[in-house]
Amino acid sequence: MSRDTAPATASDAEPYAVPPDATAHECPRCGRPFARERHRDLHLGQSHPDLTADERAAYDAARDDEAADLRRFRIVSLGLLVLFYFGFLFLFAIFG
């Protein structure tokens, strides 16, 4: 595993495809295109150790943002699991 570095050394296809009408946020170090600034900022912090102060600040902000989104996802997925659990409990009680 070569954590999110350019993925395709062995591939016979281009690893990235940017639609012509899309804005790409490119990594200033390795050129990998991202659809969102947050993705690029996180990538910089994870894959390139020598960050400038600005990049470091952007990385930290992106991490906070990411953590907030993850918290929301966890609450939703916990809700879904509870729904699954009781849903199937009832289904088995009625039909099982």
């Binding site: 993925p7 591939s11 016979d12 296809a13 281009e14 990235y16 659809a35 992106a62 990411e66 699954f84």
Partner: protein
């Protein structure tokens, strides 16, 4: 590439022996169930409506995706993925011994198969060719490939024979890639379904010799390494299963890692052809089960009724089914590009997530074959020591497989899916810098896995039978 109908037929031959050894009728019923593997195991335990059974299976896979998504610590995921220990190498003697065993097995198969009639060993249970291929190779060699490590490159008698011939050393055409192996795998499964390969030692040996001839021809044209590294279906199949195993050969020698973690590396899937092969490995299990269901009989009957040859109907179903599987998988990879909001190319996504499917395929193989491989292992051992004059069927030992082995099959199917979910999770974390992006990238693949689980469970919950019209 066998699965239920045929091995069930083989297993049915075992039954009288098993039944005779059992005291009660109930016990005999249970024994029947093990020999059939997952299908009978599932039927035995299902007492809820089918739709609920299917929904539960799908929900388990969906819930496991949600649970895996709760693990968001990058360092922890990477630690699980990269954990490993170096192992001592097998050494030259073991490698030579493996080669010798492979060549000996091929020789015995040819003699016992071609001479089945004249030696009076047409009964598949007494025939070393049938037992070596279905129990020894399709059972134990394949089982060990994903449970321990792939020994086939050392054993492979086809490669050993093909290596003897001089080669013209033509350049292997790059654009062919693994497609010949895809075609070979589909062809072998097609033959297994439409002919009595598990019952007829002579026919089986003709197929083995035909396979040998193709291997030799390919090696003479392109060189042994190019042929067996790209186009040989059996080598590719075992290599793919070997990726699931805890023991793998790396550049630094043998290495132990956690089961399935070899699947997070996709360097060996170097294009659409290899994705196509992985999808074929998953597809053939489903095809083999599907043609034993009554739904297939209902679909095929009108076609056969209007005069379409049954062989053509089976071939069309195979090609259409494979095309559908490949299309669905590529569509789920394209969906990942949208849900994850990424510029990673669709082909690249398909390539990276493809190996996770192999965990599922390994789970189904274990479920289908563990019972037969265990119960007939002593039979194989006895017949292999006297292949030309094996004892009569009544005197052949058969392992009485305990009832819980059927449960192991169901657990293997589920375990394969759970492993696949984790591998996809780990791969997504490797591929995407944003963890939410990594989670969202798996929506499409998870939907595909849920659908596949439900379809497979539906097949195993149907009363199984031999494929009709052939």
């Amino acid at each position: 590439m066998r699965r239920s109908p045929r091995p069930t037929r083989l297993a049915r031959r075992v039954l009288p022996v098993v039944v005779a050894a059992l005291a009660t009728a109930a016990a005999a019923d249970r024994a029947t169930a093990h020999a059939g593997g997952i299908r009978s195991a599932a039927r035995e335990t299902v007492s809820v409506p089918t739709w609920l059974f299917l929904a539960t299976g799908g929900a388990v896979v969906g819930a496991s995706f949600l649970l895996a998504s709760a693990v968001t610590d990058r360092a922890y995921i990477r630690r699980i993925d990269t954990w490993g220990r170096p192992l001592p190498d097998a050494g030259r003697v073991a490698t030579l011994a493996a080669r010798g065993v492979g060549l000996l097995a091929l020789a015995v198969t040819v003699v016992a198969g071609l001479g089945a009639e004249s030696l009076g060993i047409t009964d598949p249970l007494r025939n070393a060719a049938v037992l070596l291929v279905w129990v020894g190779w399709w059972g134990w060699v394949v089982l060990s490939a994903y449970l321990v490590g792939n020994v086939w490159p050392a054993v492979d008698p086809f490669r050993a024979v093909a290596g003897v011939f001089p080669t013209l050393d033509r350049a292997y055409p790059d654009r062919l890639g693994s497609w010949p192996a895809v075609a070979g795998l589909l062809a072998l499964v097609y033959l297994e379904v439409v002919t009595p390969l598990a019952d007829d030692p002579f026919l089986l040996t003709l197929v083995v010799l035909g396979y040998l001839a193709v291997s030799v021809a390919g090696s003479v044209a392109f060189g042994v390494d190019d042929w067996f590294g790209n186009a040989d279906a059996v080598s590719q199949l075992l290599r793919a299963y070997g990726r699931v195993a805890p023991v793998a050969r790396t550049a630094d020698g043998l290495r132990l890692r956690l089961p399935g973690m070899g699947l997070t590396e996709a360097d060996w899937v170097d294009g659409r052809d290899d994705v196509g092969f992985v999808v074929a490995v998953v597809f053939v299990t489903t095809y083999d089960g599907f043609v034993g269901t009554s739904l297939w009989a209902d679909v095929a009957r009108p076609l056969v009724g209007v005069g379409v040859p049954a062989l053509v109907v089976y071939l069309l179903a195979m090609l259409a089914g494979y095309g559908l599987f490949l299309w669905l998988y590529l569509a789920s990879a394209r969906a990942a590009r949208r849900t994850a909001d990424t510029f990673v190319a669709p082909g690249e996504l398909a390539r990276r997530f493809a190996p996770s499917l192999l965990a599922i395929a390994a789970g189904y193989h274990l479920a289908h074959n563990l019972g037969t491989a265990l119960s007939l292992a002593p039979t194989l051992a006895v017949v292999a020591t006297a292949p030309l004059s094996p004892p009569p069927v009544a005197a052949l030992p058969v392992l009485l497989v305990p009832g819980w082995v059927g449960g192991v099959g169901v657990a293997a199917v589920l375990g394969g899916h759970l492993l696949a979910v984790w591998v996809a999770h780990s791969t997504a974390y490797d591929l995407f810098p944003d963890r939410l992006q990594a989670i969202r990238s798996q929506y499409g693949v998870t939907v595909a896995m849920v659908a596949y689980t439900m379809a497979s469970l539906w097949i195993v919950s149907r009363p199984g039978g031999a494929p009709p019209f052939v």
